[in-house]
Amino acid sequence: MNIESFFQHFSNAVSLGSLYALIAIGYTMVYGILRLINFAHGDIFMLGAYFAFYCLTLFMMPWWVGFIVAIGLTACFGILIERVAYKPLRNSPKVSVLISAIGVSFLLESLGVVIFGGIQKAFPIPDIFGKVVVIAGISIVSVNFFIPIIAIICLIALMYLVNYTKTGMAMRALSKDHEAARLMGIDVDRVISYTFGLGSILAAVGGIMWGMKYPQLYPLMGLMPGLKCFIAAVVGGIGNIAGAVVGGFVIGFIEIMTVAFVPELSGYRDAFAFILLIIILLVKPNGIMGEKLAEKV
């Protein structure tokens, strides 16, 4: 492999890893406070991409307006899903909520087929993201530069929100003790909505950038990335935001680099994440950054 194609693969892996990281955070945050794997998260990602598509094609909005509207809409949907499908089950056994999540996932996928249509749609890539940039003989599509930059901006914003705002503190408190949080006068349902909103925003950002990197949209597009990002969250240590980011990059790199170095395996591209999941569960079930917190009674 020559150095040019290596760098092409490298930039590809960085941008794919960034997307996985953004989506994986949504899984990990929701798990952190509700102990729920939100299987609908991959479909929220799909909704983000489709909303952007319609904003740009049907409503002819300027791309940045369209993207913001799509992200906002997706956040509202994320919050709505929690209110309708998870909140009524707050005091039910965990498995009921899990089944509800799987149901929502199927519902969104099927509604997607009915409303958006099963035929693939081409994402209208704004010029600025579609340029081919040539640096030292290596040609890279500009979206591959934008993705990591936008991902980093999102991550910094999220870290600020989670670590330095009162609502962020409440989110972290909820990950340990809902009842004690209520005794502080914290409106638990509001904090949960906020968490779903944040996770959905990140999923929408991921979905839109995914659409620009792999510009075919179809209603089941969230399924495989959703599963891989769930694995990324587990690999990184579920409940841990930094872990989700690490897990996202690990999976992005393994996927791109294995195919790059061993092209014969390219048909197994989607399998690597699952193999990694099995290995992690055997070797380090708490995940790379998962820790057992010492608690005193």
Binding site: K176, L183, M184, G185, A294, K296
Partner: protein, 235 residues
């Protein structure tokens, strides 16, 4: 300030409280003593709406708060320090205190309260940036009290503050409770450590399997024959 009338709570088929009446006058320390499983925690949890009430009424400052939701009750000034302290171990001391004062939006008032809590608990002040989970039991109890004070309670309810603590620290905690009370906060204290509780209480209730069997001033109950036998281990 707080008035409980005919409070009954059933957990499934089990009657945890069988109709108790209590009165917590403003500015006093009232204690509820009793053995394990007598219904002490259930009483406090019912007041803040964490446990569903079967029948009975709870009045706070003349208003019926029966069945109100926890957040509203806490915001009206009733703060419960739950059994086992329940501090947030993954958060720093400072963050725990911030959440204690979650409902206070005014930064200036918030800072004054933080200052006040730091004077009452100098040990917390030294360790604001430390993770609360690394604290010893006594320190966690102080943090739990500090966190409760951040909410500026009018009525502070304490569930077994001495549980699992060394005698010297228990003494310290009870002194702090008295100090808090002197600053104008009404205290409702429940304890298995009946002696310590009755010594600082203005008035006490003895709870036995869901019924109040005795009541009287702290001094009266301390000298009561039955109380001495059953709870103080003195014949």
């Amino acid at each position: 300030m707080l008035k409980i009338e005919g409070l009954t709570v059933n957990y499934g088929g089990i009657k945890a409280l069988k109709g108790i009446d209590m009165d917590v006058p403003e500015g006093k320390i009232i204690t509820l003593v009793g053995a394990n499983g007598a219904g002490k925690s259930t009483t406090l949890r019912s007041v803040v709406g964490l446990t569903k009430i079967t029948s009975g009424k709870i009045y706070y400052q003349g208003q019926n708060i029966t069945g109100k939701n926890t957040v509203d009750i806490v915001r009206s000034g009733i703060v419960l320090v739950p059994e086992g302290r329940r501090i947030f171990p993954n958060l720093t001391v400072y963050e725990n205190l911030v959440l204690g004062g979650y409902c206070e939006k005014n930064k200036k008032i918030f800072d004054e309260r933080l200052e006040h809590v730091c004077t009452v608990f100098p040990r917390l002040k030294e360790r604001l940036k430390q993770k609360a989970g690394t604290f010893s039991g006594g320190e966690q109890q102080m943090l739990a009290l500090g966190r409760a004070l951040m909410a500026n309670p009018k009525l502070l309810m304490l569930d077994e503050p001495s549980l699992g603590l060394a005698p010297l620290i228990v003494k310290n905690i009870f002194e702090i409770i008295q100090t808090i009370n002197k600053s104008g906060v009404t205290v409702l204290l429940i304890e298995q450590n009946a002696k310590a509780a009755l010594e600082i209480a203005d008035y006490g209730y003895v709870l036995e399997t869901g019924n109040i069997v005795l009541k009287g001033s702290g001094v009266e109950l301390l000298s009561n024959e039955n109380v001495r036998k059953a709870y103080l281990g003195i014949a």
